[in-house]
Symmetry: C2
Subunit: 513 residues, 2 copies
């Protein structure tokens, strides 16, 4: 018998004898509250230096409540669309490395749009996996699995979107979640409406690939999906409270992704405030998500668990700003003062509302101006859970824990670099959408266009709206960042498009002078 040599895992929290079975695990409960497609400004919490028009438009009292308890990160970044962000979150790998650079859905099928003059790379259309055997996918190691094995009870609620349909990574249970509420391969939802059975016909058959699974009991009950998920999450928490384990709840709302249905609990009040029907519908999605956050916070408080509960708020990409059928106002302005939106490497596409509340660690009402990135959540949450993940040396984790930044006065090293690679064509056009790569280092951000060789350079703290391209006036910075971006992309074995005319790859940013 040819036995595989598989070192086995011993959770430190596990005991061996019946007596020790009652040993208490006092590590904190951790809730990651992740919103879909929510822009940096879609909240009444001011993440900019001053209160903006958007802050006045949206009412998110529970986000305010969370921000008052914890710290808001004003420069938190994700990728420009969902799959890259979610795959970075679960594996800790940068988007350039995991190569899930566009959105995933069906097995072996690309969602790219095409352009005659460009050949797109063979990116990982099947998403991320924990096991080998699936072509066009990245094999990573789930931080949730590590949490579970260290003794955490692990709960998934909402949108998963890790692996394509019919691949092992499609199901949250494959990533170490012990409970899965309504998560599957899809990155969106057919509808928020229970009147439409969340996208199922009267015989119970899904009417779309993104019909929301597992919420049958709410069909026809006038329960908006945001509320149904919240009720199910609270049931799972009630169960978790009996288990004498710390828990990790990944509450990944389908809100505020399209279709921008009207949440009837909140819609009319926004109409009354003068918003257009489309904008009131969008604001109602935001308000429903915020109510859900409040319900979860209420549960934690009612159960007397506040002091040992970490709550983290985040979104996976910028707010949608390219589709007039869903949003009113000129395109690319919805995330003002940021420019552009979902799909773009400009700030409107990648800057996210992030809050961390950790009683005893974060200072109530604090503001943190360090820049952090979606893959940083992996090592951060493992550090919060006291899991020494670094023993796992041969599975690259690009993220850097932001836990040290929670200490007063701590700051990101000046040479920290954030990297985006988007050698794909998404469904919408707009500024810095499609066929771009980018680097943030210190105050500077360089955006490189694979197809044109064009470069944009912004000083982010000075010019949050990215109105002033300094590429021609700061050639040395452009050269330096082009080199760093090229080096980092190549080091991560990143992909790039090619030109149809020659079959040759588009230049790396440092190959263009």
């Amino acid at each position: 018998m040819n036995l595989r040599s598989i070192p086995l895992f011993f959770p430190a929290a596990m005991a061996l004898t019946a007596t020790a079975a009652t040993e208490e695990d006092t590590r904190p409960d951790i809730i990651l509250f992740m919103i879909d497609d929510m822009g940096w400004q879609d909240t009444s919490v001011p993440f900019a230096d001053s209160v903006t028009a958007n802050n006045l438009k949206y009412h998110t009292p529970n986000m305010e409540r969370l921000a008052a308890k914890g710290v808001k990160f004003t420069q938190a970044y994700a990728c420009a669309i969902s799959s890259p962000s979610r795959c970075s979150l679960i594996t800790g790998a940068n988007n350039a490395r995991h190569r899930v650079t566009n959105w995933t859905m069906e097995r072996d099928k690309s969602t790219d749009l095409t352009r005659d003059d460009i050949i797109l790379p063979q990116w990982n259309v099947n998403g991320v996996q924990q096991v080998p055997g699936t072509p066009n996918s990245y094999v990573g190691r789930s931080f949730v699995d590590l949490l579970r094995q260290s003794g955490y009870h692990t709960i998934h609620c909402g949108k998963a979107h890790f692996g394509a349909k019919d691949t092992p990574g499609e199901a949250p249970e494959h990533w170490g979640f012990e409970v899965n509420i309504a998560g599957h391969a899809a990155g969106g939802l057919a509808t928020y409406l229970s009147e439409l059975n969340y996208g199922h016909d009267k015989d119970g058959n899904p009417t779309a690939l993104n019909s929301v699974p597992g919420l049958e009991k709410y069909w026809g009950t006038d329960t908006f999906v945001t509320e149904a998920l919240t009720q199910e999450a609270i049931k799972a928490l009630d169960k978790a409270a009996r288990y004498n384990q710390p828990y990790f709840l990944y509450f990944a709302h389908y809100a505020v992704h399209t279709p921008i249905d009207r949440d009837p609990r909140f819609y009319q009040s926004y109409i009354d405030e003068g918003l257009s029907p489309k904008e009131a519908a969008y604001a109602s999605l935001v308000a429903g998500m915020d109510k859900s956050l409040g319900d979860i916070m209420d549960w934690v408080e009612k159960k007397g668990r506040s002091e040992n509960t970490i709550i983290i708020f985040m979104s996976d990409n910028g707010g949608l700003a390219t589709q007039p059928e869903w949003r009113d106002g000129p395109v690319n302005t919805q995330n003002a003062p940021l420019r552009s939106g979902k799909g773009s490497l400009l700030e409107g596409g990648v800057r996210e509302p992030m809050i961390v509340s950790w009683p005893g660690v974060t200072k109530p009402g604090d503001v943190n101006r360090n820049y952090v990135m979606i893959e940083d959540f992996y090592p951060s949450i493992l550090e919060m859970a006291q899991v020494d993940w670094k023993a796992e040396k041969d599975k690259p984790v690009d993220g850097i824990s932001f836990v040290p930044l929670l200490k007063e006065g701590a700051s990101t090293p000046e040479d920290r670099e954030l990297i985006w690679n988007y050698p794909n064509i998404w469904g919408n056009n707009g500024p810095a959408i499609n066929l771009c790569a980018s680097i943030r280092r210190g105050p500077w951000k360089l955006i490189y266009h694979y197809d044109t060789g064009g470069k944009e350079l912004y000083n982010i703290p000075d010019d949050i709206g990215e109105k002033h391209n300094l590429a021609s006036s700061e050639p040395k910075t452009v050269e330096f960042l082009s080199r760093r971006l090229g080096e980092r992309l190549r080091a991560m074995d990143a992909q790039r498009p090619s030109f149809s005319a020659t079959g040759k790859p588009c230049p790396w940013p440092d190959e263009i002078k």
Copy 2:
């Protein structure tokens, strides 16, 4: 930050790069087909040396088909009731060690009956767990979790019964199963009937603790639960076949546990053969389970996976023989030629129908007369899956792999000892039911009665019906086995009852001369 030192796990099968993601994992698919309360003789496969009346009464063509492909073990043992067996299976620990010696259901509640003259031990009424924190439970390490981490896709279908309700161990997902169909804390089922929504009222609320969860779509469809589980298992297998991973399917039927409902697909044919309504109902449960086995075997064959699929058949304790409301004929005779039944340490309570089919390893139609025990499945399945579990040294595994016994001519060492401890009072009375311990070594079996000090000694191969108690004629064997049983029980920190009159513990078997 006080980081826990948690050595992390690297499945050997996992690859690191996108290229290697397509590496093929050629380890075998493994199906463990586990029946509930099925006696050794409840089949047309002759497990005794000759065909018995029971073999002629039951028709199990698919068990015959499996036995023709593989090897039948004629001396396979489990515990006398379900929880001890299931907890040994999932942790590899002997029942005396894990102390889940009676059946579990509600948290912190014992299911023991009581007797005025006996104080029962504080056994592990909450079952087994993978994490500490739950009083009255045993913390073990699931072989399924090890399979999953080595790269297996893991599927649970049917009865779980590992941890009590509201403990972490209640859910199969806590034991490393990525898919859970209808498994929870309960060890039985409210009803097999979809007309009764498997134990839910018309509003969908469970009507009992053992209502079968998760099969809503079959309610009111005239689908016997055995068939509903089979259809769901096949759907899960269809999915597994797309995953390019080996899979482990634990198909743990609720059949043939009480209530002995009539499976309408098979009931009438047994009436036509002259069986009484109760016996025809029981035979119909057996036939439904056998049809399910056939459907699974058909799926494996149709998918062309036969050559690399291991199928193991087993039951968790002897057939029910104490309840005239469910079975006709004199009590304690239903497992003839074995004596007694479920709950007893006599052969009728613990000897099980076991078949192993492993193409290329097992010889078709072979018979294996070595004795094996339920906890042996743990190391055996891990060995089949090529997982080197022995690296995990500080989590005691009492089972011994039966894989070496599959080689022609191999036999169990003569000093192999099987141990049972049942310091509890079950719901029924009968020969060697309640307050007993037992040891099997070589041909001999000693049963010790805690309350009376009584001892029974049988030569099993000579006296399969245990009609001839040789305790008085073989005093040296009694003394030797009493010593060995006492030593083994104490070494595993086993529990024993006490006398109410004195408050003193009942003697160990070797304290009685």
